[in-house]
Amino acid sequence: MTITTGIQDLGLENITHRYNGVLALNHVSLEIEKGSFTAILGPNGAGKSTLALILGGMLRPTNGTVKVKAADRSRSHSGNGFINLGVVLVPEGRRLFTTMNVKENLLLGAYGSGQSKVEMMKSYEDTLEFLPELKRHLNKQAGLLSGGEQQMVAVARALMARPTTIILDEPSLGLAPKMIERIYEVISSLNQRAMTVIVIEQMTTYALQHAQSMIVLEGGMIRYHGSVTDAAAKEALQAGYFGTE
């Protein structure tokens, strides 16, 4: 069912996660191909954010194996996730440093990837060239920006680590359609530059316009994993797990 012709970037084998007994993920296995664009979709409470945290290495699952670039990372837990392996997470709610300015937020994004000062400034310039709309906000406090601008800063901060893989948890939440389109334009362009992209959404409309493969998660289990264009994909979406709005 899954297309795994390429090289595996991230892999989960039999992942189960419980929060103090509450089952959030139930025997989840999946492979994310290098350079792919995957949408993980599902209703509220499906376990999407839990999956995002595990894929980013920020949460150690109760059971199962986590592989990054084919190496077993289930036991490694520095508390810093997989950022030093090139896997960055743009988490639910963005988690910007709201009292700090945009420039400081961006520079902080480079901390975990062991860049020298010169490399860090290069990343900074490249990031601003890629997202020029941030240039006029550099000295503004991040918490005072609009939701869409903050989401851009969150993406930019993640890019400062020069990642190979980016995981975005509900990037469109609460944003105006125009802003969502811009975010997806940015994400797609990252994917075209060979970055592995995983977008997690409850609202399917935008994600499905750009992703090649999709995973439907419901009740902590995978209900569908395959190409977005398959007939089965349509069925999975219409199964009534969640709406399109």
Partner: protein, 289 residues
């Protein structure tokens, strides 16, 4: 009016010490969510070590960095071996542990150096009159030192990589970990700086009087008052709070009664905490967790 000005001025002079110690408390709290009640005793040990090295012939000026280092290293040890093993979210246990450790340190000081006050060599002699107040060079130097220490901290937190990382970690522990900041490193550095700076405060106090186990009691009380005034998470607030307490203390001492100073300071804390539980400049509610 002239009189009030001089009272305010001497308030600022003593307030700079409360500000510096308050800043030390806040640096530690922001990084590790621990109110370190042992900070005064850790600082005092640093001064006793200074007394010992001075008696061995080390110049007084060189004893200052030694005090800073000794207090800082003890701080690192306390965080590493007493606080960190508790794991996150154990504020109450951490509080009890620092209180208990403070008592242990006091007993240790008494055992090693005795309980009688020890003289401490003055750093500089003479005095100058500012705003009609005769002020010793010693006090002026102390204030200068406290101000310089605070400026250095400001520079560290605003213009260095590690300072930026410490601010990020203070604002959002999770996000800081996510971008690769080592929380253990931030914790160690915060305890080193916090306790080291408290050592500097203790050194300044010692140079102004003699040294006893209770060296820091009066300053610590006022520094905490300043911190509650400015908010436990706000560095500028804590420093400003310390200055305000210094002024208030002097105004109360001069215009009300010298014996009511502590009562006045305490009354102000109670009123402020009643009106604004998180301090005047502190974060409201559970904004940072």
């Amino acid at each position: 009016m002239h009189d009030l000005l001089s009272v305010i001025f001497s308030g600022l002079v003593s307030g700079s010490l409360y500000a510096l110690l308050g800043l030390s408390i806040v640096i530690i709290f922001r990084a590790t969510d621990v109110v370190n009640f042992a900070i005064g005793d850790i600082a005092t040990i640093g001064v006793y070590v200074a007394i010992s090295v001075i008696s061995l012939g080390v110049p007084v000026v060189a004893a200052l960095p030694i005090t800073f280092l000794v207090a800082g290293i003890i701080g690192v040890g306390v965080e590493r071996f007493m606080i960190r093993p508790l794991g996150p979210g154990n504020m109450f246990s951490a509080l009890i542990i620092t209180m208990g450790f403070g008592l242990v340190l006091q007993a240790l000081i008494g055992t090693i150096w005795g309980y009688n006050p020890r003289p401490f060599p003055p750093i500089i002699d003479g005095n100058i009159t500012v705003f009609g107040v005769a002020i010793t060079y010693q006090k002026l130097l102390a204030t200068g030192l406290a101000v310089v220490a605070m400026l250095l901290i400001t520079a560290l937190f605003n213009w260095t990589r590690i300072g930026l990382a410490m601010r990020a970690s203070a604002e959002d522990h999770f996000a800081a970990r996510m971008i690769g900041i080592k929380s253990t490193r931030v914790a160690s550095l915060a305890w080193f700086l916090g306790c080291g700076l408290a050592g500097v405060t203790a050194f300044i106090m010692a140079a102004e009087s003699s040294v006893s186990v209770a060296l820091m009691a009066m300053v610590l009380f006022r520094a905490f008052a300043g911190v509650f005034l400015g908010g436990l998470t706000n560095m500028i607030g804590a420093a400003a709070g310390g200055m305000m307490i210094g002024i208030l203390d002097n105004v109360a001492g001069s215009y009300v009664s010298a014996s009511f100073r502590d009562t006045m300071v305490f009354a102000v804390i109670v009123v402020i905490l009643f009106l604004r539980p998180s301090g005047i400049l502190g974060a409201r509610g559970g904004a940072r967790v």
